[in-house]
């Protein structure tokens, strides 16, 4: 269950200068191709997330930008300069590692000063900048400790300070909050967002946590099997996913597989093998679908209403009979499982208003507006996800 909390935040305009650009980048490790022709344009000052399940190539993409890997083919550009074969230590980027990778034999202060000292910054300058970085992450009182004496969240802050003290053009964050517990993660999300706003530099974050990506990012790239499925703002990704994979990976959704029966300008009808007929109406038809094409209908659990009476059949409204199978109490919401008479399973999210729910195993009707669901072209049925069950 996730909400798009950052819809009000505006991404830098498309015309803004690019900080990072990937052009048809491939990375092949022996028999495996980790990155398959990725094109990315990341704008200056943007908080950009690369989101995907583990093993989708998102960390490799980040490492290509950092310079720990060189592309097999394709180009990596930093501020317009081709850096594909520039070693990591010459690139104006800094990385926060998932494991933090703090230097255990140095104090917090020396860890943060490391980059400046390597660049032979003057002593007094190092002092003021390290102090400033410590203040930014609220770790002033820990300067003399060694990393082994710090908690996970504190180590995370030191890792952030160690990277940002170098004033990189681009900050790279590899699952930066992955090792923290839930509460701390929420806190650090807010702090990351604040830091990004204060510093105004480009942040590129890799994560598998869709909620984290939605709440922090200006734009998100969803990756799958080494390819980019969709790039867009959080609301574009959540409300207008372009593929069934994106619809399913971002937030929860019900996917109903079928075939386009009728396609007209004002809507289309998708019929499943089991005979279910679903109406889908613009504006949410992104890909032009024509009659006879395989399609997947995606409807979010919170868009479905449950009732004990059938609503009168009318165009623009979907209403299906089924029975209530299971109810889970989530506090703010109730999560219901409904089996339609045609066999499809639906997940329905109802706000908790202390309403009386129908008895389990009794007939119910699930209904949603045709404008509340999406029809997506099913690329290759074999590789798509299983349906909503």
């Amino acid at each position: 269950m996730s909400q798009t909390t950052s819809t009000q935040r505006s991404a830098p305009p498309a015309a803004a200068t690019l900080d990072v650009e990937l052009r048809q980048v491939f990375k092949i490790f022996g028999p495996d191709t980790a990155v398959k022709g990725v094109d990315l344009k990341i704008r200056q000052g943007e908080f950009f997330s690369i989101l995907g399940p583990s093993g989708c190539g998102k960390t490799t993409t980040l490492r290509l930008i950092a310079g720990f890997e060189t592309p097999t083919t394709g180009e990596v550009l930093l501020q317009g300069r081709n850096v594909s074969h520039m070693p990591a230590y010459r690139r104006p980027v800094n990385t926060v590692f998932q494991s933090y990778a703090l230097f255990g034999h140095m104090s917090v202060w020396d860890n943060i000063a490391f980059g400046l000292r390597i660049k032979r910054v003057g002593k007094s300058e190092v002092r003021t900048q390290v102090a400033e970085a410590l203040r930014l992450v609220q770790m002033e009182s820990f300067a003399r400790r060694v990393p082994g004496q710090l908690s996970g969240g504190q180590q995370q802050r030191v890792a952030l300070a160690r990277a940002l003290v170098n004033r990189p053009a681009v900050m790279l964050l590899d699952e930066p909050l992955g090792a923290l517990d839930l509460k701390l993660r929420k806190e650090m999300q807010v702090e990351l967002s604040n830091l990004h706003r204060k510093l105004g530099i480009t942040f590129i974050m890799v994560t598998h946590d869709q909620e984290e990506a939605l709440s922090l990012s200006d734009r998100i790239a969803v990756m799958r099997d080494g390819e980019i499925e969709q790039v867009g703002t959080p609301s574009q990704i959540y409300d207008f996913p372009k593929t069934p994979f994106v619809a399913d990976f971002i937030g929860e959704t019900n996917l109903v597989r079928g075939k386009v029966d009728q396609a007209a300008r004002d809507g289309l009808k998708v019929t499943t093998d089991t005979g279910l007929q679903v109406w889908v109406q613009p504006p949410k038809i992104e890909i032009p679908l024509t009659a006879g094409m395989a399609a997947v209908v995606s409807v979010r659990p919170e868009k479905i209403r449950l009732s004990t009476q059938a609503s009168p059949a009318q165009p623009g409204q979907n209403c299906f009979a089924g029975r209530l199978q299971h109810v889970m109490y989530l506090g703010t919401h109730l999560q219901c499982r409904v089996v339609l008479n045609t066999g499809e399973h639906l997940t329905v999210l109802q706000p908790n208003r202390h309403q009386r729910l129908p008895e389990l195993e009794t007939p119910v009707y699930a209904s949603w507006a045709a404008t509340d669901c999406l029809a997506l072209a099913a690329k290759s049925p074999a590789s798509e996800l299983t349906d909503a069950s």
Binding site: P87, Y89, T95, F97, A101, L102, G104, R162
Partner: protein, 281 residues
Amino acid sequence: MTAPPTAAKSAAARSAAPSRFRLPFTWQGVFSLGMYGFMYVPILVLAVYSFNASRYGARWEGFSLRWYQSLFNDRRIFAALQDSLTIALVAVGISSVLGTLMAIGLAKYRFRGKTLYRGVSYLPLIIPDIAIGVATLVFLATAGIALNLWTVIAAHMVFCLAYIAVVVSSRLKGLDPHLEEAALDLGANPQQALIKVLLPQLLPAIVSGGLLSFVLSMDDLLISSFTAGGGVNPLPIEIFSRVRTGVKPDVNALSVVLIMASGLIAAFSEYFRAYSDRTSR
């Protein structure tokens, strides 16, 4: 739970009481005591008799330091000690550098035949010393190289290298694999990353591996006896040639000194291991 409280309490106390102040006369206890006795009583006896005034070991004729005195006046012992120290220090010194580089290389790079290479590098740990000794001797003879100080050093390096590489690579395995990348990321070139980040993190392992192989080198009799020549006479060979004609009390005194020195080195090694555990997180 309705049993009289006192009875329940005393029963619990009996079963849970630590038998800290009683000798454990179980068969395990007796066996353990026997084992430790077998291990340490001879050493204790040796230490006691090194202070015996009598020339012939068996009878106690009063406390004396004369054997220590004669030991410290024995030029041959000191010459032998000097040879041993030279061999050990040079062999360990070179092996520390090569062994560390070997461990880093094996951890960092992927190449064809890496598993084989790794296996071959660590093989000296399980090859019997006698085999190393004989093989080295035959090799040197075939190559027409006369035995001297450097042939012993080279032979000792064979096992020193393997021990140091093993200790360093086990430390490397426990390190965050991204440490070096973090240094590069912060602008350090590969040499700076090695010197400023990786080596300080590996230092405790290099030191403790070095101390371990130092002790082994000081202790080695077999390999040295096959590969030493040209008047080089390490301490173990000197001691062995002396006890062949019967144990004299000054050898007892020498043994006690050696045990003390080994103990000190072991303590150092432990200290560095503890230090390494503290900084590895």
